[in-house]
């Protein structure tokens, strides 16, 4: 299953909820303000540990977050990569 989180972890509990419900084999994609959750120095980065996490590159760039600021092991994808992730997962859950 693919989980989409589009809220900053500092603006609600969506990332917390998604990561606590994710099962082995699930993937998380951070989009829109959700990309703030991928910042290495952020206190939310620990929520991502042990999960397969990607982040949408154009949304990172729009917020001035460079790749060197990301937590370790996070994959950066473009919209084409986003489409591939939807194709690869039989269900998509948006944590709105």
């Amino acid at each position: 299953m693919l989980h989409l989180v589009n809220k900053s972890p500092y603006d609600g509990s969506n990332l917390n909820t998604a990561t606590s419900i994710m099962k082995s084999g699930d993937t998380l994609l951070l989009i829109e303000d959700g990309v703030y959750g991928a910042v290495k120095a952020g206190k939310a980065a620990s929520l991502l540990e042990g999960h397969t996490v990607s982040v949408l590159g154009p949304d990172l760039a729009a917020r001035g977050i460079t790749k060197d600021k990301l937590a370790d092991g996070i994959n950066v994808v473009d919209y084409a990569g986003f489409v591939d992730m939807v194709e690869a997962n039989d269900k998509v859950q948006s944590w709105l």
């Binding site: 989409l4 589009n6 989009i31 829109e32 303000d33 154009p58 949304d59 473009d78 919209y79 084409a80 986003f82 489409v83 591939d84 939807v86 194709e87 039989d90 998509v92 948006s94 709105l96």
Partner: protein
Amino acid sequence: MKFTIQVNEGPYQHQSADTAYHFAKAALDKGHEIFRIFFYHDGVNNGTRLTTPPQDDRNIVNRWSELAREHDIDMVLCVAAAQRRGIVDDGEAERNGKDATNIAPGFRISGLGQLIEGGIESDRTIVFGD
């Protein structure tokens, strides 16, 4: 693969209308099919042709209309959401006694059954909203 996309937010207020558009475009570029785009709640505001954003800004409504025309995409506005927000086509104008219409090219007004059918007929349904 067939996708149905649901958009729950209006243009310019939240990023979801932009994300949904870029996702749809990327999916089409990769050879996938968009079975339907269903606009729900404030998302129906994506379908009024009366918007005039500044010339140096993206025109979100026209962008949807062009995408629908180029790729023959079925774009549906939820009828109950559209009635509440004043998005009107010829049929709704007549039914509800309105003196104007504002629906943009490529959009049509219908019911929630269209969303359910999209979920059944498509391989994936993706929701964009706030």
